[in-house]
């Protein structure tokens, strides 16, 4: 593989303004799939959670999951979007082995939510407004496992295994308008946006939005234009960037790569790119010129969706406090700095700390436990705080108990790890 030429970040920014577009797919946490009654539970035997509809068997038909629609509206409302009075699903036609019907039931020119924004807070407290183009409903594909190839990719594989358990799980795709004017802070804005969106999705209770589990996936579209110009440059689409840190690194890498190409008089190829976690680089995927044609047309198997205004208003009234507002409130209540709050957020510790305080601990010790000993522990094990076998109630008890002597600890009965369901909701 040829080494990708990069310009230094500073040099890139000295000549160019980055323009970004972020597309985030969120897998909803509905009990059943978007168009059939199959379970969405993770971890089942391959193809155990399938039926004629999500396998695309001849004759099978979709039926819309109402909770999926409700979740889409909630997300749209929380992103300050307009909610369509009438919208339809559309078929996006393309061939892929893990897509059973060889079309994806999605939305095209009639998304359920459009024209919104999300204010994101950067580490120094600056607020940047990211405009939202649309949020629309669609279905996930199955999963292919390629056997025999060197890289796990289809190229060079002897055969592939297909698992359709994920096929038909509801997805909400949230697309930003072009993010301009972030300048050198563009990668930081990208990361903050995805972080904020993740918090928002969790606060709405519509998905756990775990990036490590693929419940939230981000595509970073990026182009550069010389300072002072208006026309967008040719963009690259870095697909499936699946952690906050990676979002930032991918944006940064692409800025440097584009700048190197443009500075040396080259042209950017419109293509998808793969992101590599190990070295933070991207490599060429498939050429994506404008000839790609999904032949969208209204999905004839589903009737249009016309959410009653009263229902939309009811959902609007029921929206929880937005994460940024809540964080600022908590920051003041806990008396911590912007930066401390940011590390708490990055560690995924906001909710555990809140729950621990609710269970009786004081703010300082709750924070100390989750950000200290427990964060280290989780880090070592490579799990999230929520996956540790300890509950906020346990932490509250520990933090309010004074231990008289070492021996009493040894005599306490061994405790089985708690299951997820025994923990307070997050």
């Amino acid at each position: 593989m040829t080494v990708t030429e990069l310009l230094s970040y500073e040099a890139a920014l000295a000549s160019f303004d980055p323009v970004m577009g972020l597309e985030v797919h969120v897998e909803l946490g509905t009990k059943t799939k978007m168009f059939c009654g199959c379970s969405t539970e993770l971890g089942a035997e391959p193809n155990a959670q399938t039926c004629p509809t999500c396998l695309g068997l001849p004759g099978a038909l979709p039926v819309v999951n109402e909770i999926g629609v409700e979740s889409a509206i909630k997300i749209g409302l929380a992103l300050h979007c307009e909610i369509a009075e009438w919208c339809r699903f559309a078929r996006k036609n393309y061939f892929y082995p893990d897509m059973p019907k060889n079309f994806q039931t999605s939305q095209y020119d009639e998304p359920i939510a459009f024209n919104g924004y999300l204010d994101v807070q950067l580490e120094d407290g600056e607020v940047f407004r990211v405009e939202i183009e649309r949020a629309h409903m669609e279905e996930d594909t199955g999963k292919s496992t390629h056997i025999g190839g060197a890289t796990g990719r289809i190229h060079g594989a002897s055969h592939s295994l297909l698992d359709y358990n994920r096929a038909g799980i509801p997805l909400i795709e949230i697309v930003t308008k072009p993010i301009e004017g972030a300048g050198e802070r563009a990668p930081e804005v990208a990361k903050a946006y995805v972080a904020e969106l993740r918090e928002l999705i969790r606060a709405l209770g519509v998905s756990e939005a775990r990036m490590d589990k693929g419940q939230m996936r981000c595509d970073v579209n990026l182009s550069l234009r010389p300072h002072g110009t208006k026309t967008f440059g040719t963009r690259s689409e870095t697909k499936n960037v699946n952690s906050l840190r990676s979002v930032e690194r991918a944006a940064r890498f692409e800025i440097q790569r584009h700048a190197a190409v443009l500075e040396s008089g080259g042209t950017i190829v419109q293509e998808t790119r793969h992101f590599h976690e190990d070295d933070g680089s991207t490599t060429s995927g498939r050429i994506k010129d404008n000839a790609e044609d999904y032949r969208y047309f209204p999905e004839p198997d589903l009737v249009p969706i016309a959410p009653a205004r009263a229902w939309v208003e009811e959902l609007r009234q029921g929206l929880p406090e937005l994460p940024r507002v809540r964080r600022n409130r908590l920051r003041e209540e806990w008396g911590v700095s912007e930066q401390e709050m940011q590390s708490i957020l990055n560690a995924g510790a906001v909710d555990p700390i809140v729950a621990t305080i609710e269970a009786g601990a004081d703010a300082a010790s709750a924070r100390k436990w989750w950000m200290g000993e427990l964060a280290r522990n989780a880090n070592e094990k490579g799990v999230s705080l929520e996956e540790l076998p300890i509950t906020p109630a346990d932490v509250a008890r520990v933090s309010t108990t004074s231990w008289p002597a070492r021996s009493s600890r040894a005599s306490s009965p061994a405790r089985a790890p708690r299951t997820r369901s025994s923990r307070s909701a997050v």
């Binding site: 004629p52 396998l55 695309g56 068997l57 001849p58 004759g59 099978a60 038909l61 979709p62 039926v63 819309v64 078929r91 036609n93 061939f95 082995p97 059973p100 019907k101 060889n102 079309f103 592939s160 297909l162 044609d293 032949r295 969208y296 047309f297 004839p300 198997d301 589903l302 009737v303």
Partner: protein, 497 residues
């Protein structure tokens, strides 16, 4: 025994209920008839002998236990091979699905079973319901029992031929552009395309989702109504199925009348391409309607002239997407998978081998019509025509209760005559297509034999959406008047096989 096969469904059900016949006897009589004539007719792709007899035995046991039997209990039926049947092959007339055994029953099949209807087997059809002659079946053509060298209509030619050949008193068809009505017309039988959404499409292999509609086929209007009632009704598994009560079709069929009704005759449904004998029988039918007390109103529906063009954009567009799933990966045919080829190559080889020429033609046409840059001109314009046609129907139904027309411009043409001329083939659906585009209901019933060739002519009755009962009210009146005039049902003039 031979008389059993000549009975109507209503008569069979009554005789089984009274104990005069057993369901097993009835089923055996029809299976014997299939054995005797289907080599010539080729109406069936698969005969489910065991399944049919098991269903029949269950009906007889039910009766023995003193349980109440439904209005079609024990009546045999021929099912178009487009509906999925759990454990029974479903080919849709295509090599693509040769040997495929569906793991689930279509909703319509579940309803038939719940009504104790005995499913004899699956009938031949144009591949993926694309055609008007059943010649596009990958499994060979079906003969018209009136003249085995002629087509039985299509795509549901197997179902119409099975009725005309007395292989079954009831059949199921599907109608996307006329595939129930045109076969009924050319075989002297009765076929109904219910209002779009009246009969669940779940488990009906899709050709063009916004046009496809399953419906009843029979030799009499009352039998069609009994079957209509058994299969219609809301299905939560089909979002496009109407959540409304089924219109009182059986009651209408038992009380046929056109007295005081306003009947529309559309100017556009005549002219070049219409066989003289077909128009003669049609005009006589209009006269008959007047004699029966109907008022005839001439209607002008100019956009109907665009229906065929719009149809041949919308149906292929939807089919190009619906048939994309046939890729050889999950079910059905897989060609060329020798371990060296990529999935894409195997898919291409599978489609090359599995789809017939007409299916390929429509997939290519539809893919083109949906392409970026062409969408507005083709698919978009066709949708506008569809809206115009729907509005013209609505306007027409402000003036009339039903519309009548010839079902198809000609009688059954010889097998092979139009096989290489798709445009000529498409014209067979000239009068039936507007109804599919608008989504309303229509029936075809026999109105005589064309003088020049002695072959059956169909009269089409069109009703507004969700007023399917009007078809039966008018159809029953016309049928009764004709039977009185002829002295017997038209089908009795069919040559014995």
């Amino acid at each position: 025994m031979t008389d059993i096969i000549k009975l109507t469904a209503a008569e069979i059900a009554a005789k089984i209920a009274s104990g005069e016949l057993t369901a097993v006897e009835v089923t055996e009589a029809h299976l014997a008839r299939i054995d005797a004539v289907d080599e010539k007719v080729h109406a069936f792709l698969h005969v489910d002998r065991e399944g049919a007899l098991a269903q029949a035995r269950a009906v007889d046991e039910k009766r023995a236990r003193g349980e109440k039997l439904g209005p079609l209990a024990g009546v045999p039926l021929a099912l178009k091979d487009i509906f999925t049947t759990r454990g029974v092959p479903t080919t849709v007339g295509s090599k693509m699905l040769e040997g495929w055994i569906p793991p689930y029953d279509a909703t319509l099949v579940k309803r038939l079973k719940a009504a104790d209807v005995v499913i004899l087997g699956k009938t031949n059809m144009d591949e993926f319901a694309m055609g008007s002659s059943t010649e596009n079946s990958a499994y060979g053509p079906t003969g018209n029992p009136w003249d085995l060298t002629r087509i039985p209509g299509g795509s549901g030619g197997g179902s119409s031929a099975a009725l005309a050949a007395y292989q079954a008193p009831l059949a199921i068809g599907t109608d996307t552009g006329g595939s129930i009505r045109q076969p009924a017309a050319v075989t002297g039988t009765v076929g109904v395309k219910p209002t779009y959404g009246a009969v669940s499409r779940y488990g009906m292999v899709a050709f063009s989702s916004s046009l496809d509609q399953g419906g009843p086929c029979a030799r009499t209007v009352l039998d069609a109504a009994l079957l209509h009632e058994a299969i219609a009704g809301h299905d939560p598994l089909d979002s496009t199925s109407a959540d409304l009560p089924v219109p009182p079709v059986v009651e209408a069929a038992r009380n046929g009348s056109v007295a005081g009704m306003r009947v529309g005759v559309v100017k556009q449904f005549r002219g070049e391409g219409y066989q003289a004998g077909v128009m003669q029988r049609f005009d006589e039918s209009v006269e008959l309607l007047k004699e029966l007390g109907a008022e005839v109103v001439e209607l002008d529906c100019p956009s109907f002239d665009l229906a065929l063009s719009a149809y041949y954009l919308i149906a292929p567009s939807e089919c190009s997407s619906n048939l994309a799933r046939f890729d050889g990966l999950r079910y059905g045919l897989r060609a060329g998978d020798d371990g060296t080829r990529s999935a894409e190559d195997v898919t291409a080889l599978t489609r090359e081998a599995g789809f017939g020429p007409e299916v390929k033609r429509r997939i290519i046409l539809g893919t083109y019509a949906l392409s970026s840059g062409y969408y507005d001109a083709w698919f978009g314009s066709a949708q506008k025509v569809r809206t115009l046609i729907t509005r013209e129907f609505e306007k027409a139904f402000e003036q009339v209760d039903v519309i009548v027309s010839p079902t198809t411009p000609t009688t059954a043409f010889p097998i092979g005559e139009r096989a290489d001329d798709p445009m000529a083939m498409y014209l067979a659906d000239l009068c039936t297509i507007p109804t599919n585009l608008a989504g309303n209901a229509a029936m075809s019933l026999p109105c005589g034999l064309a003088p020049e060739d002695g072959l059956p002519v169909g009269l089409q009755i069109i009703a507004p959406a969700m007023q399917d009962d009007r078809l039966y009210k008018v159809g029953a009146a016309v049928e009764a008047a004709f039977v009185e005039k002829w002295g017997h049902p038209l089908i009795e003039e069919a040559p014995s096989l």
